[in-house]
Each structure stands twice: as structure tokens, then as C-alpha cells.
């Protein structure tokens, strides 16, 4: 017997006779069956079917035009060295891609909805459990296979097989070990050390302490960073923000590590490593643009808002004989976000 039957017979099967109990509430509800099938316009009116067919064809035709449009925009809008052409080209390609793909989809769906058969069919579930004969046969096959393999009789093969499978994934550990050098202490130390001069980012040039007025901010890198083999890796750690404010506002430790109210703090957020550079000159707050962690420079860059949980490390600075700023030591702690060994 076919398990799929036309649902037409199922329509309107719901029984109106309900077994009533004494309280007026039925003991159980009868299966109401499917609602009667409603024919679409296209099913009964050949004119409507024809119209739907034309609509689908029109949508697919739009998709064709979109595809041709992509080719035309790529070939037709030539790059003439100006940005305006790139802008036009991007816009034209994007629009044509949208029309090409979207109208293809819309056409297909419209076709399915208006013209393809839409009668409901019932696909009855069958039992998951096999017949008793099938189940016995499966068990017999398993037993036979196990006996033929003879694992129980040949423990040597069994044990070496277990050993071989256990060792097979081990080389992967060594593959991973070779994917790159271990970070070593590169996360904990930066290029800053005693005597490193502070230079302006990105223009370079040492900074004279006397040149800084109150409210001044200078974005700073260690001198010689561009001569390194990997300057970008180092810049991601060594960026420093130099600020000058009234020395009386600073904490004693902070003022001692600075020069006449000029203090240098790591620019790398202790939350996720974004550059903390939004310095509000009047409130002396440093704001991280990524997650709004806020540090108070007057409280040794303590976190006063946001997800960061450690203050920004301060770089101790001093002036040399000519008045230029240099680091009096490296950072006393690792800069940037937490990592495993840092705790």
C-alpha cells in the first residue's frame, strides 16, 4: 500500500460528533482534518496562469539583464586614475549583482507559488523498528564479522592496533609546535628601556619638555622603532601618550615618574588592546574608543568606567642634559590586555 495518498480524501474528515462528558467539555477532540483546498487563480483560469507565466519570465529576464549589467559595469566603466570612477563602478556592480541574484530568486519563488502544483499530500510515518527477522539477521552479521576478524583470539593484533591508533594523532602536536616561534617574553617587554628617547608619531623628532604647554598631548613612539625588522609588532605594544597637566593634579607616584606634570602612559588599552587616545583635556579622562573604558589620569590612570580592569601602565620619563625627554626605565609591567602568563 502506498503511504502517500492524495490529501483530497482527507479534506473535510473532521468529525462533528464529539463524545461529550457530563460537564459539557469533550473528553477528547477529534482530528479536525485539513481545511478544504482552495484553488489558486492560475489553477482555474488559464488567463491567470498565462499572466503568472509572463510575470515569472519577466523576473528571470530582469535577472538576465542584471548579469549582463555586471559584465558591462566591469568592462564599461574604465579606471581613469580618478576615485569617482571607482565609486561609480562599485555602485553599478553592486546594484547589478543584487538585481541578478535577487530577481532569479524572486522569479523561482513566484513560479513555485503561482504555477507549480500546490495540493497538500500526506506522507504517513512508518515504524522505525525493523521486523524481527531483519533484526536477527543484523545481529548474526555482526557476530559473524567479529568471529572472522578474530580479535578475541589474536590479542597481539588487538593491542598493536590500539597502540597504533593512540599514537596516530601525536605528530599533530609537533606540527602545531612548528607553526610559529613561541612568544617568549615578547608580550611582557617592549622596546622602551633606560635612555630611549621619546619621538613624535608619525613625524618623528625628539620632544623637548619645555615645549609642552598645559593640555598638550603628544602621540609618542620609542626612537628607532622604524629601523626594526618588525616595526608594526613593536608599535602595537610601544605606543605611548604624553600629556602635560598641572602637576598638583597628579598622584605623587605619577608626578615622580613624570617631568613637571608631563606624564607618559601606555596607549594600549588593558581590556582588548585598542589605542586609548581620546584625552579630554578638561576632565583629564582618557577614553578608549572601542568599549568606552575610561581612565583617570589624575588617579594614575585608574579605570573609572568600562570593561578594562587594570590601570594603564605608566612609563617613567626624565629629561637629558639638553632638555629632551627620554625613558628613565622600561615599563614596570606588561602593557596591553591580560594574557595567560600575566595572570
Amino acid at each position: 500500500m502506498s503511504e502517500i495518498e492524495r490529501a483530497d480524501e482527507a479534506h473535510g474528515q473532521g468529525s462533528t460528533a464529539l463524545a461529550k462528558s457530563g460537564s459539557g467539555v469533550p473528553e477528547r477532540f477529534e482530528n479536525p482534518g485539513l481545511p478544504p483546498h482552495r484553488h489558486r487563480m492560475g489553477d482555474v483560469d488559464p488567463q491567470a496562469a498565462k499572466r503568472a507565466e509572463r510575470q515569472v519570465a519577466f523576473m528571470l529576464l530582469l535577472s538576465v539583464l542584471g548579469s549582463i549589467g555586471i559584465i558591462v559595469s566591469i568592462i564599461g566603466i574604465e579606471y581613469n586614475g580618478g576615485w569617482d570612477r571607482i565609486s561609480t563602478s562599485t555602485r553599478a556592480i553592486g546594484l547589478c549583482m543584487f538585481v541578478s541574484l535577487f530577481m532569479l530568486g524572486v522569479g523561482a519563488v513566484h513560479w513555485a507559488k503561482t504555477l507549480m502544483p500546490d495540493d497538500e499530500r500526506i506522507d504517513y510515518r512508518h515504524r522505525q523498528r525493523g521486523t524481527t527477522a531483519e533484526r536477527e539477521q543484523a545481529v548474526a552479521i555482526l557476530k559473524e564479522g567479529s568471529a572472522e576478524a578474530g580479535l578475541g583470539r589474536r590479542p597481539l593484533i588487538r593491542n598493536t592496533l590500539i597502540g597504533a591508533l593512540a599514537l596516530f594523532p601525536l605528530p599533530a602536536v609537533f606540527f602545531f609546535r612548528d607553526t610559529g616561534p613561541l612568544p617568549g617574553n615578547s608580550l611582557s617587554v617592549t622596546m622602551w628601556e633606560e635612555g630611549t628617547y621619546l619621538v613624535k608619531d608619525p613625524t618623528g623628532g625628539r620632544i623637548r619638555a619645555a615645549d609642552l604647554t598645559y593640555g598638550t598631548v603628544v602621540h609618542v613612539m620609542p626612537e628607532g622603532i622604524d629601523e626594526l625588522e618588525e616595526p608594526l609588532n613593536e608599535k602595537a605594544k610601544s605606543a605611548v601618550l604624553l600629556m602635560r597637566l598641572d602637576e598638583d593634579l597628579l598622584t605623587p607616584k605619577s608626578a615622580e615618574w613624570g617631568v613637571d606634570g608631563t606624564v607618559a602612559y601606555s596607549k594600549i588599552c588593558t581590556h582588548m588592546g585598542c589605542p586609548v587616545a581620546l584625552y579630554e583635556q578638561q576632565t583629564h579622562h582618557l577614553l578608549c574608543p572601542c568599549h568606552q573604558s575610561t581612565f583617570d589620569v589624575t588617579q594614575d590612570c585608574k579605570v573609572i568606567f568600562g570593561p578594562a580592569n587594570r590601570p594603564l601602565p605608566q612609563l617613567p620619563i626624565r629629561v637629558d642634559a639638553e632638555g629632551y625627554l627620554q625613558a628613565s626605565s622600561g615599563f614596570h609591567e606588561a602593557v596591553g590586555p591580560s594574557f595567560w602568563e600575566r595572570g
Binding site: 487563480m41 613625524t203 609642552l212 598645559y214 598638550t216 598631548v217 581620546l278
Partner: protein, 277 residues
């Protein structure tokens, strides 16, 4: 004119006589006003004379002293009225920036003074006030024509200006100079359409929340390069993406994706689930 006059003498009551008389009267009144009214500053960078200082002081006393104190020493909070900071040593550039962009006189006490399009003082009056404030103590001067002249700026300068902008300014003012939010309702303003002079003055004076970028850390040539990049932006850096959405980054892009993109998806899902007629 002579033809009109002869016509007038030929026919004493020409119908156009009234019109001509009114026009003449208007010209006379306009001419008188132009002669009497304060002239717009022609030599704003000229050294201030004693009259300018006196006029500047009077303007200061009338418009600024309420908050900034009678001697520009900074105000005290009296009867709930706001206190302004001391203006001694802020320099002429600060006055020109704050008053010239309409930020001062402060309209009302809020998180920060907004830029106001309607300027209540003529440039000459602003210069007089600037001269008075500059006479109190040395401070940044109003930039001269040499640093604001963009005619000999090269493409290399613009590129350098963009690089300096990205390191020093972009974190607050946005990578395209469109401005951004700070804490507590404060914000970094949009820099599009701002005059080069005011950008320069903002850098040397550090108005409101903005830190100071003195000429010793960003040289005048570098400042010119930054201004060149900001003011010639349309020519050098239009939108290669085709749809900048105000260059506000994830805010406007996210808004479009969530409303238009997800809206389209929801619309498609509803349409897919609808019964066809």
C-alpha cells in the same frame, strides 16, 4: 542718469519720478549707513592700537565679564550663574576661535558649547576682543595667511597631513573627520566645512575637551598639511565604496544593515509563507 534727469526736467511729473526718488533716497541712506556703520575688518592682523584695545575691553566687559570676571581672571559661581575659566594667556587665537565660530558667548550651560551658525560680532569686534585678551598675557596668535595658504600644497603634503590626522586626531574626530562622541554628552565636532583658520586655532589652543597641539609638537607646515587634507578631502578622497553613509563607520552601516537588510529578509520570509491567490 542724465537721461532720467533730462526726462524729469522735460516732463515735471513723469510717472516714474516717484520710483526714481525712492531709489535715490535708498542709495543715500545706504551710503550714509556704509559711511557711518562699523567697517568690516580689512587689516585684522595689523597691530592693535590703543583704541582697539579700549574697544576690545569694552566689548569684553559688556559680553564676557559676567562669567570670565572683570579682569578676565575667571569667574566665581554666584547665585547659580556659571563660572568661566580665566582668559589670561589663552591668546588671540582662542578668542577668534570661540567667538568666531559662535561657541562664545555661551548660549546656555550644557556639556559643551555648540558651534552656532549665527555670529553676533563682526570680525573687527572679534579682533578687538582678541587684541584685548592677547594684551593681558602672551598666548597663541591668530594664524597668518602664510600657514593658511593652500595654493602650493602638494599631493605629498596632503598624504602626510592624512597620516598625522590618523594618528593625532582620528580617534576623536573619526577617520574621515566626521566627528564622534566623548563622555558625558561631550563630543568631537564634525570637521567638514570648517574654515582652515578655525582648525588651526583649535589645534594651537585646545578648546574645551580638545587637547593642545602646539607648534613645537605639530609644526605649522604639518598643520597646513592637515588642513589641506581636511579641506580638500572631496577632491583627494571621495567614496570608493560607493555608499559612505556619512562615513560614520559601524553606526550608520549597522543601522542600514539592521533596518533595510533585515527588513528585506523579513519581507521575503513573509512573502514566502503567504498563500498565493
Amino acid at each position: 542718469m542724465t537721461r532720467t534727469l533730462t526726462a524729469l526736467s522735460a516732463r515735471r511729473r513723469h510717472p516714474l519720478a516717484v520710483v526714481v526718488l525712492i531709489a535715490l533716497a535708498l542709495v543715500l541712506v545706504g551710503g550714509l549707513y556704509a559711511a557711518v556703520a562699523p567697517r568690516p575688518a580689512e587689516a585684522s592682523t595689523a597691530t592693535a592700537d590703543a583704541d582697539d584695545l579700549q574697544a576690545g575691553k569694552e566689548l569684553f566687559l559688556a559680553n564676557c565679564a559676567t562669567c570670565h570676571g572683570l579682569d578676565a581672571q575667571g569667574g566665581e559661581i554666584v547665585d547659580g550663574s556659571g563660572a568661566g575659566p580665566s582668559l589670561i594667556g589663552v591668546g588671540a587665537a582662542s578668542v577668534d576661535f570661540q567667538v568666531g565660530t559662535g561657541r562664545m558667548p555661551l548660549q546656555m550651560s550644557s556639556a559643551q558649547a555648540p558651534e552656532v551658525p549665527k555670529i553676533r560680532f563682526s570680525q573687527e569686534q572679534i579682533d578687538q576682543m582678541a587684541a584685548y585678551i592677547a594684551s593681558l598675557a602672551p598666548g597663541p596668535a591668530i594664524p597668518g595667511e602664510d600657514v593658511l595658504d593652500m595654493s602650493d600644497v602638494t599631493a605629498q603634503d596632503v598624504s602626510r597631513g592624512a597620516q598625522i590626522f590618523r594618528t593625532n586626531c582620528a580617534m576623536c574626530h573619526n577617520f574621515a573627520g566626521k566627528g564622534g562622541a566623548l563622555t558625558g554628552g561631550k563630543y568631537a565636532p564634525d570637521l567638514t566645512g570648517v574654515e582652515g583658520k578655525y582648525i588651526y586655532e583649535a589645534m594651537v589652543t585646545g578648546p574645551q575637551s580638545m587637547p593642545v597641539f602646539p607648534n613645537s609638537t605639530i609644526s605649522p607646515e604639518d598643520k597646513t598639511a592637515i588642513i589641506a587634507w581636511l579641506t580638500q578631502e572631496e577632491e583627494f578622497r571621495p567614496e570608493p565604496g560607493g555608499l559612505p553613509l556619512g562615513s560614520l563607520g559601524p553606526v550608520s552601516e549597522g543601522l542600514l544593515a539592521w533596518i533595510a537588510g533585515i527588513g528585506l529578509l523579513v519581507g521575503c520570509s513573509v512573502w514566502l509563507g503567504m498563500k498565493s491567490s
